[in-house]
Symmetry: C2
Subunit: 194 residues, 2 copies
DNA sequence: CGTCTATTTGAATGTACTCAAAAGCGGTGG
DNA sequence: CCACCGCTTTTGAGTACATTCAAATAGACG
């Protein structure tokens, strides 16, 4: 796996010298994750933030009644982790699982701290990443509060068409906060024209 | 109003020299906002991110049916803005209104960009602020998806006791994503011991 | 092929909403 | 200081959106 994609991802927001790029790449750990393999399980220490080089991952939370709530999907060119636990060194609340065979680049918390010191431009890079993540979550909260399930489904499809093609309806339902049965009903109405 | 509180807020994450602090303070614009006054209205350009020096603000979104969804509350020592619109120069989606007489310090987008260039430590500061905001929103999404209204209410009270004391039930209901009538019913059950 | 899981369908149920009206509370002006 | 007005909160009846449970069908994978 060449590090081109991740360097390109970073290049969208900051410019690195050859040396800086080489140093950064040296901090990354490659990992191949087979479909259904776990990058993180609840209760483990979340040591890494991961860049998805190829494939697709899903982060979800299991509640007391054993129901899954999908927190996010990540396809190629996205970053994913259990941010709360990564930052606060807490046992993970989330499972992160491969939806298809995937290839990721992991950056540990310690490496990241070192990176911030050695190449402060990365403070900017991750400021922009965090900002984007915050905005997306906030838009999601607004939509969850103010739109009915059917419209949330529409918006999901139009906002994330590439993801929609890779995941099951059950997973979409758990992202939208509804049951698979109800999502099926929504789709049923729709195809019958009403 | 002395700038001590905001400097202390920043001092939690980065250390500034006298000069840097003075430069930063020079970028801020003070504003007194009376109870029920607006810091931002939907459709306006959101030019500022605001630090709450005293008082309390509420950000909310109005949907097509005219229902309010409360996005966040901010009391002294918090930062607030319509982040999506602040960052992307879009017309505001949110109203930001004072819940009580408040005093805020506003930092414009242009000033902030300049600040990032002149004092790059602020990249770190806002990286940490954004990170915290992202984590809070993500936890909120998890709880909205996996907890019933009654438990979300409990958690709100225990997580934000200082806010709970300042706001109406109607506002709490709109933060939790339920109607005021239903929140009232929850509270009714509770006081009757069940 | 056969097994496992995802999806669909339908009936019964529950959680939360709407609408309406009464009661409470806070602020304002006479 | 009290009376009134407007808004919040409570209460209740009827309703709607979404869930649960169960079973049938369809797809994916070894």
């Amino acid at each position: 796996m060449t590090p081109e994609l991740v360097l390109q991802n970073i290049g969208k927001h900051i410019a690195l010298t050859q040396k800086e790029a080489a140093y950064f790449v040296g901090l990354l750990k490659e990992e191949e994750v087979p479909k259904k393999g776990f990058v993180l399980k609840e209760g483990q220490t979340c040591k890494y933030i991961s860049f998805v080089h190829s494939g697709a991952l899903r982060a979800y939370h299991l509640d007391q009644q054993g129901r899954e709530a999908t927190i996010m999907f990540a396809i190629a060119d996205w970053w994913i982790t259990d941010m709360y636990c990564f930052i606060n060194n807490q046992p993970a609340m989330l499972f992160i699982q491969a939806i298809e065979d995937s290839c990721i680049l992991k950056l540990s918390r310690d490496s990241l701290e070192e990176l911030y010191v050695r190449v402060p431009k990365f403070e900017r890079f991750f400021r922009i990443i965090m900002q984007g993540a915050y905005i997306r979550e906030q838009l999601r909260v607004i939509q969850n509060l103010s739109l009915p399930a059917e419209e949330r489904y529409d918006r999901f499809l139009s906002k994330y068409p590439r993801i929609a093609g890779k995941v099951t309806q059950k997973q979409i339902a758990s992202y939208l906060g509804i049951t698979p049965e109800f999502l099926s009903a929504i789709r049923g109405n729709r195809s019958r024209g009403k």
